[in-house]
């Protein structure tokens, strides 16, 4: 029997782990960036980032004061018992994690300007579901800081524009954004669908480990092309100039309406926090990202 307490415990652990310790693939990419960066100022920024990551782990402190908007991506086996309870358990866990870790309270009512003080609000945390076959619950927590979030853009392009214009749009956005999304960033791109589908895909692309290219060879090639172009801009770490503007570009697509060509660009700061665990039907827990 999987109790509510057990699920709550896993969610609090995942939140703690995600804000304190970066996934290995992100750390590796940042270390590589530091070794390869030729700009002296750029290197000071990457050095500060690496020191910060190490210190956060050593002292069990959130690496960034902006512990973000919190999203959950859930994959549930249809046989997992009482799926209807999960959202309440998650909200309870977020409230507890906000106090215990602590997380910065980041849920403000846009009409009253009141901060709820516990990271719980209308549609916050955001919870995304996929129901699959089996008896398990896979939980990915994705706290995303707003320096990079504020740079996300959606453009409804013309179908005649094509991929070349997509590339130009992304480069323009990277240059305009400069240091604001805290580069080196990870860039998620969603092409096609309707406006909401494109942005959702761009966001989900950010959850893919950095060393994993899109399994579709054509798209993987486009990812590589975008990655090289973005790093040629010279925007560099924190927008102060240098070789490292992005750690990876991830592209996802959906079929589009014949008359429509939505393109969404989602920026993720270097503090690319995510953590995943799977609970099976008997309550056995497996942490996928390295636990602390």
């Amino acid at each position: 029997m999987v109790t509510n307490i057990l699920i709550e415990e896993v969610v609090v652990n995942l939140l703690r782990q995600s804000v304190i310790r970066l996934p290995e693939d992100v750390k590796k990419a940042l270390k590589n960036a530091y070794n390869n960066e030729r700009s002296i100022i750029g290197k000071t920024q990457l050095k500060a980032i690496l020191e910060n990551i190490e210190m956060a782990e050593k002292t069990s402190t959130p690496m960034c004061q902006d512990t973000g908007i919190i999203s959950f991506y859930l994959e549930a086996g249809s046989k997992f018992k009482d799926l209807h309870r999960i959202e309440d358990v998650i909200r309870k866990a977020v409230r507890r994690a906000t106090r215990e870790i602590p997380l910065r309270p980041n849920a403000v009512d846009p009409f009253t300007e009141e901060n709820t003080a516990d990271n719980i609000g209308r549609h916050i945390p955001y919870i995304h579901w996929r129901i699959l076959e089996g008896n398990f619950l896979k939980i990915t927590v994705f706290p995303k800081g707003c320096g990079s979030e504020n740079m996300c853009t959606l453009r409804m392009m013309m179908p005649s524009d094509g991929l070349k214009t997509v590339k130009e749009f992304i480069i323009d956005r990277v240059i305009e954004a400069g240091g604001m999304p805290c580069p080196p960033t990870i860039i998620g791109v969603g092409i096609g669908g309707g406006s909401n589908i494109a942005m959702e895909l761009a966001k989900q692309a950010l959850l893919r480990p950095l060393d994993q290219m899109n399994p579709d060879v054509r798209i993987a090639r486009f990812e590589r092309e975008l990655y090289e172009a973005v790093n040629k801009t010279g925007i560099g770490p924190m927008g102060l100039g240098g070789d490292t503007t992005t750690l990876a570009v991830k592209v996802e697509y959906a079929h589009r309406h014949p008359a429509s060509y939505p393109v969404a660009v989602a920026f993720q700061c270097w503090a690319a926090r995510r953590a995943t665990a799977i609970i099976d039907g008997k309550g056995k827990i497996e942490y996928i990202t390295e636990s602390i």
Binding site: A48, N52, A56, T61, Q65, G147, K167, M180, G234, G239
Partner: protein, 194 residues
């Protein structure tokens, strides 16, 4: 590359010596302010109401810290910079009226602030975005907090810091702006990039 140490109170002559690309470390008292605090500072100025804190040559830090209240007082858990551009609408008046000489943040600021820095003698130093533990390690004491009704991240925190940095001077008091320089170069280079 030059590394310079600054202490409170920061004077105009210290600031006029700084150029884009210099690296500085700051020791002394600074105060934090984000959007809501800036808005309220301007309301106070407009109504000629006395501010509940004294600036006295302290740097202004764009930061909404993650804090914890204990029986021993406030502890700053993580205190990296926030995006400075959100304060662009307010900053000219703040520089002018509070005589702020050093603004610390990330991502840079707009033309109005660059002009005000040139006219009144102030610089912008960037602290590495997201490096919040590194920043909080430099905080030795919370000297005061005001306007907590705005919420913890938005309140004014007077923090005593030691060797706070590295801060890269990105906007100096001569109208130079490292961010726009990097962006303009990228724009001019676009044909090659594509």
């Amino acid at each position: 590359m030059k590394t310079i140490e600054l202490k409170t109170p920061i004077l105009e002559e210290d600031i006029r010596k700084l150029k884009v690309g210099n690296i500085i470390y700051f020791t002394g008292t600074l105060f934090t302010a984000r959007d809501a605090a800036h808005k309220r500072i301007l309301q106070y100025l407009q109504n000629r109401k006395e501010l509940p804190f004294k600036v006295n040559g302290a740097p202004l830090y764009h930061c909404g810290p993650l804090v914890r209240q204990t029986s021993m007082g406030w502890i700053v858990v993580a205190a990296g910079p926030t995006t400075s551009m959100r304060m662009e609408a307010y900053e000219e008046d703040v520089i002018k009226n509070l005589c702020v000489r050093l603004i610390i943040g990330k991502g840079g600021m707009g033309e109005k602030t660059v002009r005000a820095m040139k006219e009144f003698g102030a610089v912008y130093g960037s602290f590495t975005g997201g490096a919040a533990v590194l920043a909080s390690k430099c905080v030795k004491n919370v000297a005061d907090v005001q306007w907590l009704d705005l919420g913890e991240p938005e309140a004014i925190w007077m923090l005593e810091v030691e060797k706070f940095g590295p801060l890269i001077i990105c906007i100096d008091s001569y109208g130079n702006n490292l961010y726009t320089k990097v962006q303009t170069e990228a724009k001019n280079n676009k044909a090659k990039i594509l």
